[in-house]
Symmetry: none
Amino acid sequence: MTDKDNAVFNTFQQAPNLRSNLADMLTARIESGDLKPGQRLPTEQAIMTATGVSRTIVREALATLRAKGLITTRQGLGAFVSNDPTPRSFSIIPNDLQSIDEVLRVLELRMGVECEAAGLAALRRTQEDIDRMQDRLDDLDKALEEGGYGAQEDYAFHRSILVATQNSYYGRLFDTFGNIMVPRQWARLDKMTAAERKRHAARMRREHHAIFTAIRDGEEAAARRAIRTHLSKSAARFEELRDATA
Amino acid sequence: MTDKDNAVFNTFQQAPNLRSNLADMLTARIESGDLKPGQRLPTEQAIMTATGVSRTIVREALATLRAKGLITTRQGLGAFVSNDPTPRSFSIIPNDLQSIDEVLRVLELRMGVECEAAGLAALRRTQEDIDRMQDRLDDLDKALEEGGYGAQEDYAFHRSILVATQNSYYGRLFDTFGNIMVPRQWARLDKMTAAERKRHAARMRREHHAIFTAIRDGEEAAARRAIRTHLSKSAARFEELRDATA
DNA sequence: GACTCCAAACTTGTCGTACAACTATGTAAC
DNA sequence: GTTACATAGTTGTACGACAAGTTTGGAGTC
């Protein structure tokens, strides 16, 4: 292994645990084409010395890649990048549900998808779409009034926006986000006082109504702005949560 | 297992190693409902004594399940069966009959994804990313000079942008677009004269270079604009194609 | 020279121990 | 009753050792 190869390994920043970091890095190297299909990976020893982690970690990271189908290993031979490392289907697997970083990355993806979708929805929504969005919004309001977090209802409302694009790909893609966006696991991390809960509910209502009215009235730019604001604030709140627990 | 049994399995090189066996066993227990969502798995020690394998094996098996999203682990607490062990996946299956409409819908989706990605890439790209994008751009230029359509190279360049976001979800999602975005099937519909081809090549080069320089120079807004323009014009061209063949 | 055989080196698979980091729980002190 | 802390239990990480599979190169034979 050359120095240049080593340099790639040294660039991982601190995060939840060593195994995930190493697995992410190796995954990135494969997906970026740095390691090509059929090519042999560095030996476990080489990865150990390059990254400074123990063989235990290296092996668990390789087990992760193997489970994802990115590599295959053969005893006495080594590990090899799979022939078709680019899967034709996309799915979000809740790797570390406690890892807020994961949620933030998904939120980044949602930002792109939903902003465009909101714009399209504002241009194309039918009366039926508007009614459906209104219903979901009512459900959400009701859930918040009853003191719940409304995560499920929030998700359903967002989905109704995607449906209104009249482009089924948007809705189908959004379905994959549900796996990680149901925040039951970290709900307990997020202990809000009654006052905070109330403020949170008011903010949610305000932001969602802004999105809804923009789409209903066919205001494309406003719809984009509104949903970007909403998702940005959600992300910011998750970041606070992470920093608070760190 | 007898030798005869092994003979049956020799066709696929699935090794009879302890890790796979244990992982399969645990997977079966989860999928059969023996271990219910949210329920805690036995401790690593318990699995060790119950199965007789070492902790190394247990941990690698658990790493496999975690990669598949079947369980989540938390230090000091234990491993738990995931709430939604059946991840939904997103894929694009090309439909030959209305393929151009199909492409237009996918382009709409790409619009959202890639605009956001270009913005993120402008903020986060590393020198390595810049080099990779430059290489892909050179490949594309070369393909166009040689009189090809450069569809493959175009796709590779776009992918390098997604990689530069440092958010692997973007790259993984983009891979699903490849199914329909390699336009071999309608290339023959698209007979350009030499002059048209030249104009097309010049346009492609101009638009791609605009995207590249914006990302390289860290200009977020310009990157978004450039890629939106590029995809809009691509979509317009596909629409012309559809109307011409209809 | 060409071939066979085998020993050595290398790599992954498995085992064992030890300690660090994190969590929950119960107990003592206030 | 509440807080602080000690403790036990669990996962995360490190290190060393040997087993099992694969390749390579050299010794020996024809």
